[in-house]
């Protein structure tokens, strides 16, 4: 279950680190980090991160909760898994970042305009409602999640691509793809959410 992380103002109060160890997927492995930097060095868009995984992990140890939960690091992970396979101490960096993102969204640290959050929500809506990701729909939803105006602009920017895809049959017109067992899926997901609220992932 997701409890809010404790308030940790003093440096090197272990409570936040312990919260991460216990509540973030793979967080327990984080204790083994030896700060070699291979993760941050391997990161495709690490330069666009405010801290990068290596430093972020040190900050977790240092109990810098606010800085960690609002960091751009977890939102710039491209899920390339380089850090995971290279980490000499087998820290599952990508998984940790992904779950940190999830938690910071869930606990409201991520700002409303966070592209990733908006995209994730559009994506999930499609998956949940139809059982499939309808790329066309998800993209549209996502674009307009920034409001009508920006939605149109974003759409326009990629219109050429879209038309091209339609022409090649890689984007279809008409009803979204959907599975037969939509009711079944809804029930399963609802139950899953309920269990998650009750007892967390593991």
């Amino acid at each position: 279950m997701t409890v809010a992380p404790p308030d940790t103002s003093t440096k090197y109060d272990l409570d936040f680190a312990k919260w991460v160890y216990e509540n973030i997927e793979g967080g327990d492995k984080l204790a083994l980090c030896m700060q070699c930097g291979v993760c941050s060095g391997s990161c495709p868009i690490g330069v666009q991160m405010d801290y990068g995984p290596r430093k972020l992990f040190m900050m977790i140890r240092a109990g810098m909760k606010e800085e960690v939960m609002t960091s751009s690091t977890q939102w710039n992970c491209t899920s390339c898994y380089r850090c995971v396979v290279r980490c000499p101490r087998s820290v599952p960096v990508t998984y940790i970042l992904q779950d940190l993102a999830a938690k910071s969204a869930e606990l409201g640290y991520a700002q409303k305009t966070n592209e990733n959050v908006n995209f994730a929500r559009s994506f999930w809506w499609s998956a949940k409602t139809f059982g499939r990701t309808d790329e066309r729909l998800v993209t549209a939803l996502y674009y307009f999640s920034f409001g009508l105006k920006e939605g149109y602009q974003r759409g326009l920017a990629n219109l050429k691509i879209a038309l091209n895809f339609v022409k090649r049959g890689r984007m279809h017109i008409g009803l979204p793809h959907r599975i037969k067992g939509r009711r079944q899926l809804k029930a399963i997901l609802a139950k899953a959410e309920e269990i998650a609220k009750r007892e967390g992932l593991h």
């Binding site: 396979v85 999830a102 990733n116 998956a127 990701t133 984007m171 399963i188 899953a192 959410e193 269990i195």
Partner: protein, 326 residues
Amino acid sequence: MTDNTTDKKKFTYYPGCSSQGSARHLDESLRAIAPELGIELDELEDWNCCGASVGHIGGGQLPNVALTGRNLAHAQRQGRQDVVTGCAACYLNTHGGNEKIKADVNLRRKVNDALAAGDLSYDEDLRVRHMCEVIVNEVGVDKVKERVTKPLTGLKVAGYVGCQTVRPFANTDAGGEYDTYDDPAFLDDFTEALGAEPVPFQHKTACCGGSVAVMSPDRTLHLVKNILEEAKQAGADVISTPCPLCQTNVEMYQEQINEKFGTDYNIPVVFYSQLMAVAFGLDAKKDAALHRNTIAPEKLEELATGRGEAKPRGAEPASPAAIGRD
């Protein structure tokens, strides 16, 4: 595990959402080459989305795993044969989720509690595999070579593996230890087996930023550019990839990149399975689905329509011996 009574090795096939749209040509070409390689694809009944790389943010960790749970529950109903997918993201989530469920009794219980709400359960220990791993470990590159009737002679191919096809599972026991993470050989091996020429390509496993690009291309366009640049420098006629997101991402942004960086890229990006379809002498449109590429792979089209004995569809099936697992 796999069913050896028939003359083909049967797999439960999980196409994934992109097969309905951006990556139809992967799905079509895979279905076309499978029988040639002695693989029977039995589509997963009413399969759903795997959750991709953001499902856990939108829906939370457990519901995300539940998506995989439902697919596995359906697969189990279809038999105990291995599940195979051609999509990197689907493989990542489904294989990864499956292994987590197998390793963590607690998680398996929770997933099953959720599945119960849909009168489903997953209690098997199925194996979820990537098509490339199956071709390397089950079929064997030699077998691929045997099937070639139209060698792709003279075609220079940059083998772009991308990320999730090999990371983080390619070198693990559960992942079949079929190749390394940074400098895998399988894609170039495929290229060679088809009679084409793999060019040296250091961006082989560099990230194209696809998962971020969908939200904000500007953050990752330079990654695609680096990939295109090396392919161009290396004199590649086409880029070959196994990953749907990579294929789309590297292909569709070339115009925007040219605008942004003042370059003039126009490099076709195809799936290895399309190359195989052509080399196996199959139909350029119906089987190789070359018409679906937004940048037309002209050289490849020439090869497809050019000479080389055409082969009647569904000709002599592969002997089980040839694909027997050791």
